[in-house]
């Protein structure tokens, strides 16, 4: 499917979605509350069939956080990016584990390093940091006077 066809398909079901096509892959901006219905359509619709979540990460923009999902279809060979803006003080979003099993580990990593809470995640534990760690190292305002040498 081309970007235009994906857009038409999604807009029919979710008219409030916005799109950006300045990058290599088309970006779809979703409200956190709408992520699951949109993701379910992307995953289960036969003509979309995004069966491969090849990257899940988070960006700290200092004013807000953005969750980024890179999706691809091994059947139709099309790729899109889904982005969702989160509140920085209380970042909360529904997990996508039940749609893409890969997300289980990636969401644990984002939880550990950015402090995003994923509701309904089956096993939301720390992945990399020690149990007594304070703060979220990949946030831009993270300070560690012991280990970090500031430039």
């Amino acid at each position: 499917m081309t970007n235009e066809e994906i857009k038409t398909k999604l807009s029919a079901a979710f008219p409030e979605l916005t799109y950006e096509e300045t990058q290599e892959w088309m970006q779809i901006n979703v409200e956190p509350a709408q992520l699951i219905p949109v993701a379910e359509l992307l995953r289960h619709d036969a003509s979309l069939n995004f069966d491969y979540l090849f990257c899940l990460t988070c960006i700290d923009w200092k004013t807000h956080l953005t969750m980024v999902y890179h999706l691809s279809s091994t059947q139709h060979r099309h790729t899109i990016i889904v982005k969702s803006k989160l509140d920085r003080t209380n970042p909360l979003i529904h997990t996508v584990c039940h749609l893409w099993r890969t997300a289980e580990l990636h969401e644990r990593e984002v939880f550990d390093l950015f402090g995003v809470k994923f509701t309904n995640h089956p096993d939301l534990r720390r992945l990399l940091l020690t149990d007594d760690w304070n703060g979220f190292p990949l946030r831009k305002d993270y300070e560690d006077p012991v280990n970090m040498i500031k430039l």
């Binding site: 190292p137 280990n147 040498i149």
Partner: protein, 185 residues
């Protein structure tokens, strides 16, 4: 340009002339150091991209077996030298210390590349990286580079051999100290 051709290191000792041949005179320490230096077994240890260069140094093209390093060991108890090939993070530091402690004396350490030497590209603004493996274990030879080329690692290994032959003092040295043209007679 009539520089004298560099000779390979001779066997440590002197030939004492005697009727019908000669007697070789040496000290046990010199002979042991000579033997040790030519059969240093490295530990299979690599934490990032430097390990790729280390594997390349071990493989046929550069072939560190030419200098006596071919028997890479997967257990620290049989290894003589640990090449710290890669970034050491805070979580890895106790593991590295433990590996070093498990190695039998005499043991030697080579810090390969910028990360193992000083933290390198992760020196600033990083919460997780140890700024130099010498914060954890003593280092004998440092190699510059990110990652160093196989020639540089071979250079470091030969430098370590020279250090062992000269008595193996436990002091920190830079790689160029032992790379002077051999002036000894």
């Amino acid at each position: 340009m009539t520089e004298k051709k560099k000779q390979p290191d001779p066997f440590p000792g002197k030939v004492h002339p005697a009727p019908g041949g000669g007697i070789l005179v040496s000290t046990i320490d010199d002979v042991i150091n000579w033997a040790r230096s030519n059969s240093l077994w490295p530990l299979v240890f690599g934490t990032s991209c430097c390990a790729i260069e280390m594997m390349s140094t071990a493989s046929a093209k550069y072939d560190w077996s030419r200098f006596g390093f071919e028997v890479a060991r997967a257990t620290p108890r049989q290894a003589d030298v640990i090449i710290i090939a890669g970034t050491i993070v805070n979580k890895m530091a106790p593991v590295l210390k433990r590996l070093y402690d498990q190695m039998a004396e005499p043991k030697y350490v080579i810090a390969m590349g910028a990360c193992a030497t000083s933290g390198g590209p992760f020196f600033y603004n990083t919460y997780s990286v140890v700024k130099g493996a010498d914060h954890v274990i003593p280092v004998d030879v440092y190699v510059a580079g990110c990652p160093p080329r196989p020639e540089a690692l071979l250079h470091a290994l030969i430098t370590l051999q020279k250090k062992v032959k000269e008595g193996g003092k436990r002091e920190k040295i830079t790689i160029d100290k032992f790379w002077e043209p051999h002036t000894k007679s």
